[in-house]
């Protein structure tokens, strides 16, 4: 046990000084700081800033009124809208950049609703214009100004201001769109971050093993400790490394947001359902164990660091599948493919870490995936440490399947 600790301490100390680790650890708080700076700088105007970025033409829109219902313009629109006698004048104004866009309202507008939108670039800006609040209000106000009062006109222009409430999440405090973001997006990104720490640290394990093997230092190490002690020490030390990273990330997010707010943002959705928090920790640990042991074994197999990394790529791809289908998961976190991947031990930890915060995962999936993982880990550990031991001492050639099977039989 003492030797496991010595190996773990060294792995930790060597890897914590790696440039890659330091950059990755600092990058997340840095991004947070940039985000905060942007938010503070633009304040509440962030939304209008984005709106004006995408629809800067709103300020000057030309109208050709063939129907006659828009002449003269209502005084409140005179500043933004300009009337043109015919299309030719309007088009010339667009071409000369006097106006950004031209709306041609034909005689048969009342029957068809068709309005021609003429812009220089077309496409995107035309679509934005069509959807713009000002244009909607412009039409409603002109068509209904004599018939209904302003309140009704405003409702006709914007009939729905959505306030989503989910029955499952009824207990949660209401917070409008912000709470939706906190409840869905934050845990999702938290899940991705956790998954990343698993890959990064097990990647270090892979590199370390491959390097020890190619630098031939392995034989001395194995004359001092057993392969199991070595693997256990590496897994432990790098696990602590991953934990350090998470603590720094969480700590910096608390510090950046001035304490409670940031912590609450992350913790609130998790605390609402504490079982998610507990299971999250369980899946994180199991996920790390599965991948660390796997990478240890794979790292020992390759003859060069490069070859080891190529072999490991196959497994990394498996683990990344849940991240790839993350988008679909937003719409249906309980779809069949998601459930299948939740049961498969190599994808279960990532899948469940991403899935649990989004929805109430069926109990059978939780129990099933945990049982599969708990069965799989000792098997992977056993096979992994056998392959690890054999692979470590084979230089120059990668063991074939036959040799791996033989090594397992000998055990």
């Amino acid at each position: 046990m003492r030797k496991v600790f010595i190996v773990a301490r060294r792995e930790y100390l060597v890897n914590v000084r790696r440039v890659g680790f330091i950059v990755m650890t600092l990058l997340v708080p840095l991004m947070g700081a940039v985000g905060l700076f942007v938010a503070a700088f633009f304040g509440g105007q962030a939304a209008s800033f984005f709106a004006s970025t995408f629809a800067p033409q709103e300020g000057n829109i030309g109208i050709v009124d063939e129907l006659g219902a828009f002449t003269p313009l209502l005084p409140q629109y005179e500043e933004q809208f300009t009337l043109y006698g015919d299309q030719e004048q309007g088009r010339a104004a667009v071409r000369d950049k006097v106006i950004a866009s031209l709306l041609v309202i034909p005689e048969e507008y009342m029957d068809t609703g068709k309005v021609t939108i003429i812009t220089r670039e077309g496409g995107f800006s035309a679509a934005i214009l069509e959807d713009s609040d000002t244009v909607q209000e412009f039409f409603v106000d002109h068509l209904l100004q004599d018939e209904v009062d302003p309140k009704v006109r405003a409702r006709v222009a914007h009939p729905i201001e959505p306030v989503p409430v989910s029955l499952e999440a009824e207990a949660e405090p209401e917070g409008g769109p912000l709470s939706v973001i906190l409840n869905l997006v934050v845990p999702y990104f938290l899940g991705i971050l956790l998954v990343m720490t698993i890959f990064v640290t097990s990647g270090y394990l892979l590199q370390g093993v491959a390097r020890e093997k190619t630098s031939r230092v392995m034989e001395i190490i194995l004359s001092s400790v057993t392969a199991q002690e070595l693997l256990a020490g590496k897994v432990l030390g790098l696990g602590a490394l991953g934990l350090t990273q998470i603590v720094i990330w969480l700590g910096s997010s608390v510090a950046l947001s001035g304490g409670t707010v940031g912590l609450l943002g992350i913790a609130l959705p998790l605390l609402v359902r504490p079982q998610v928090l507990v299971l999250g920790v369980v899946y994180y640990i199991l996920g790390f164990l599965v991948y660390a042991v796997l990478m240890g074994g794979v790292g020992a197999l390759g003859t060069t660091q490069q070859e080891s990394q190529q072999l490991a790529g196959i497994f990394s791809f498996l683990a990344a599948i849940p991240l790839m289908i993350g988008g679909f998961m937003f719409t249906n976190p309980n779809m069949t493919i998601v459930r299948v991947l939740s049961w498969f031990p190599l994808t279960a930890p990532t899948m469940m870490l991403l899935r649990m915060p989004m929805t109430e995962v069926p109990l059978v999936d939780v129990v099933g995936s945990l049982v599969m993982l708990i069965i799989a880990i000792p098997v992977i550990l056993w096979v992994g440490s056998k392959i690890f031991r054999m692979g470590l001492l084979m230089y120059g050639k990668r063991p074939g399947l036959r040799q791996i099977v033989r090594a397992l039989r000998q055990a």
Binding site: I6, V7, R216, I220, Y395
Partner: protein
């Protein structure tokens, strides 16, 4: 009877149908320098790796310090044939880590590492990265790594490979000093002339099989017919127990048969032959090896 530090009985190790170690039995006694000798590919490294519990033997038993292999790792020092150290770490850190893995406390590990570095004139390099050391220095460092935890039994696989003559001498001296301190050393070598003077007992193997085994002096006596070189102005005449006499000027090389050099000397003195010099020469181990292998192949 000295204590047995290491013992193998009918050791066999095969790879894919090829037998690398074939029925080896030998003992290493406490305080000895034991040579495992043989040409390249004879199976020396494989034998050492099974003793170190890096490979599992296919048959036979191994007892190291009274235990099966892999039980008492702390009391054994090992210099593998495949050399390598953490290149991107400091010399001292590497030594301390390796000593700690052998169960030495951190402070003792540090102390001993510095002492050994001084002994090998590497003190100035303690805080340098391993990769900054020259090849020769790395070889010496590798040797330090195998002795820094003060082991009782030292297994050195081809310790002289790649060393220049000066460092070969240095290493020989260190090995003798270790022996004086009561350590037991087992070393392998393919250059037999290099270790002949160093070893007390040897096992000479070829194609995985034992060719010669036992006390080196005894082996030499048993296998070298006994040759004496002498200088005399007098004619020696017919001598009993002499197989062959070669004469060049006044120097005679006499090959003995059935008598010892001592017997010959007595006869010469009895005959009152004036001796200017009398030298007992031995056959180099390599010649014995070649002769034995030839004999075996003819049989």
């Amino acid at each position: 009877m000295p204590r047995t530090m290491l013992e193998t009985n009918n050791l066999v190790k095969r790879y894919d149908g090829f037998t690398a170690v074939d029925d080896l039995s030998f003992e290493v006694y406490e305080g000895d320098i034991f040579g495992l000798l043989g040409p390249n590919g004879a199976g020396k490294t494989t034998a050492i790796r099974t003793i170190m519990d890096i490979f599992k033997p296919d048959a036979g038993t191994i007892t190291v310090l009274g235990h099966p292999p892999g039980v008492v790792r702390e009391r054994i020092g090992y210099l593998p044939e495949e050399r390598g150290l953490y290149q991107d770490q400091k010399v001292l850190d590497v030594l301390v880590y390796l000593a700690e893995l052998k169960g030495t406390s951190r402070s003792t590990a540090r102390e001993q590492s510095l002492l050994w570095l001084e002994r090998l004139e590497l003190s100035d390099w303690a805080q340098k990265n391993v990769r900054d050391l020259s090849r020769g220095m790395q070889q010496k460092l590798q040797f330090v790594a195998s002795v820094v935890h003060d082991p009782e039994l030292l297994l050195l696989d081809e310790p002289f490979a790649g060393l220049d003559p000066i460092n070969v001498d240095l290493l020989k001296r260190l090995i003798r000093e270790l022996q004086k301190d009561g350590k037991t050393v087992m070393l392998s070598a393919h250059q037999m002339n290099l270790v002949e003077a160093l070893c007390d007992r040897i096992l000479l193997i070829d194609d995985g099989k034992a060719v010669l085994y036992g006390d080196l002096a005894e082996i030499k006596q048993r296998h070298s017919p006994g040759t004496v070189r002498l200088r005399t102005p007098d004619p020696v005449g017919e001598l009993p127990g002499v197989a062959r006499v070669e004469q060049r000027d006044d120097t005679l090389t006499i090959t003995l048969k059935g008598i010892t050099p001592q017997d010959l000397l007595r006869t010469l003195v009895e005959r009152n032959i004036a001796l200017e010099s009398f030298e007992v020469t031995t056959t180099p181990l390599e010649d014995i090896f070649i002769a034995v292998v030839k004999e075996r192949d003819h049989a």
